[in-house]
Amino acid sequence: MSEAPWHSRARRIFVVPAFAWLAATVALPLALVAAISLGEATQGAPPFDWSFTFSNYAIVLGDALYVEAFAASVRIAGTSTAICLLIGYPMALAIARARPERRLWLLFLVVLPCWTSFLIRVYAWMGILRPTGYINSALQALGLVEEPLGLIANAFAVHLGIVYAYLPFMVLPLYATIERIDAALVEAAHDLGAPPARAFWRVTFPLSLPGAVAGSLLVFIPASGEFVIPDLLGGPDTQMIGRILWLEFFQNRDWPVACAIATALAALLAGPILLFDRYRARGT
């Protein structure tokens, strides 16, 4: 150890605490959750006994409610991610191509909403969308509608909330990737006979894909497990798995089933992350 070169020792000084932190705050709780998912529910405190049974997984996978909720989560998160990509890509492109002194301001505006608590921003959408909210009051005052529009407690509101909340996570990695693309490459494409649209699709777009993939994961993964948005803006047709998890844990107090759901969700989300890793490994 004392013979190790200074840089390898220095690396240890920085890397070991980081890994210790990750182990204590991520790996350990995850292992605990996985262990509880194999236990049995009881009426005690804590409300489970250690065991080694897969019956909780059988319950989760055998019940249409849970499977439906998983499917709805993936569907809603997937659609929201696609919408974020469609809105976020032109935004990121425009920011990357803006004059340098303006870029900082535009990025600042993208991040600005994050200065307010996430929860409060979702509550604010309730105030905007509910039957007696700003939109419906305004429409009724103007005489455009008789009855309030059903803007809340449905899939529309959940998608709106997710896209609104997670758009910055799509824009930022996309911007970082597009901004790094050498402007000379686009000029070279023009030089070689490609007008702007062709140069975009043949050069800028393929080189921005790593940013699009990173942004999509940053939106899709938290959106799949989202609990607050479907709880506050959703309705009976938007039973996302995060909400079911919460109900199992706090209302039914069935920790083993809740932990089985959480473990299954983590396994489900590990898929796209591993895919992204392989994609990156291939790219470099």
Partner: protein, 315 residues
């Protein structure tokens, strides 16, 4: 082939290119030479269509292309950092410019193969740019730019990213390539040796203007201004009659001579030796053959030059 008339390009009100007139012939290697910031790259970019001039015209083959976008001009560029598409193979980089031309697949493949063999990159067609050496990347950039059969090839400091040895070899290859293709090459460089070695004619630029155009020997032997004399090779300048007398170091003879001085330092460069002399005329540099015997540092030395070695320059 190329005519530039009264071309002016300003950035933030400051002219980068300031009223340039220029004519470059068919099959000529023309070099724009000057220090950084002299406007040579901006002038090249105006010819390529990447900058819109504020005044003046660019004519190619008699056609005014001033307002034409780069993708509509019959010229192609070898960029300074090559700007190869990192996500495409060597063959796909070379084929890029052919995609918008009306060609059959077979014709296109044949042209790509022809270009790759022209720059001797056979066997590397499937590689990505990141898997190539600097010299190989430069060849890909040349092959890619030549694939569209441009009337003029523009090269922006194409050798600056190569190491010294490779640079000399590549110079010769470029001259050879141009001779085979017979198209015009317009070259931008700040390296006077490079410009001298490969150009048919050189345009020396200073402050956005072309201060002298001529063959390398003409520029060297008969510089039009003090700037040109000092920028192209070494020069001795002596004040006389309100102007300057310029004498190249290799025209200064050591030994008996009308002037006297003290040897300050000798720099041995292999085939040549530079002798720096302090004299009443100021610091004088003489270039003698490396094999010549020269006085030691601190020794008194006489020197002079023939009358035809003098070049009068305006103040």
């Amino acid at each position: 082939m190329i005519r530039v008339e009264g071309l002016t390009k300003r950035f933030g009100g400051i002219p980068a290119v300031d009223g340039v007139d220029l004519e470059i012939g068919q099959g000529e290697i023309f070099c724009l030479l000057g220090p950084s910031g002299c406007g040579k790259t901006t002038l090249l970019r105006c010819i390529g269509g990447f900058e819109a001039p504020d005044a003046g015209r660019v004519l190619l083959d008699g056609h005014d292309v001033t307002g034409h976008a780069p993708w509509l001009r019959p010229v192609n560029t070898v960029f300074q950092s090559y700007a190869l598409f990192p996500h495409l193979s060597v063959a796909a980089n070379v084929a890029f410019g052919l995609e918008t031309l009306a060609m059959s697949k077979a014709e296109r493949a044949a042209r790509v193969a022809e270009m790759i063999s022209l720059v001797r990159l056979e066997g590397l067609a499937a590689r990505r740019p990141s898997q190539l050496s600097g010299g190989q990347r430069q060849r890909v950039a040349i092959a890619r730019a030549l694939a569209r059969h441009p009337k003029v090839l523009l090269l922006d400091e194409p050798l600056s990213a190569l190491d010294a040895k490779l640079r000399e070899e590549t110079r010769l290859e470029l001259v050879d390539l141009q001779a085979r293709l017979g198209i015009s090459f317009v070259f931008v460089t700040h390296d006077q040796d490079e410009a001298m070695a490969i150009s048919d004619r050189i345009g020396v630029m200073q402050g956005g203007r072309i201060v002298q155009v001529g063959a390398p020997a003409e520029i060297y032997d008969r510089p039009a201004t003090r700037f040109v004399a000092e920028f192209v090779g070494r020069i001795n300048l002596f004040a006389r009659d309100g102007g300057w007398i310029a004498v190249r170091p290799e025209r200064i003879g050591l030994g008996a001579g009308p002037h006297a001085g003290t040897v300050r330092e000798c720099a041995f460069l292999g085939e040549r030796r530079l002798v720096f002399i302090d004299s009443a005329l100021g610091r004088v540099v003489a270039s003698v053959a490396g094999s010549d015997i020269v006085p030691e540092n601190g020794a008194a030395v006489g020197f002079g030059w023939p009358a035809d070695a003098e070049r009068r320059l305006p103040a």
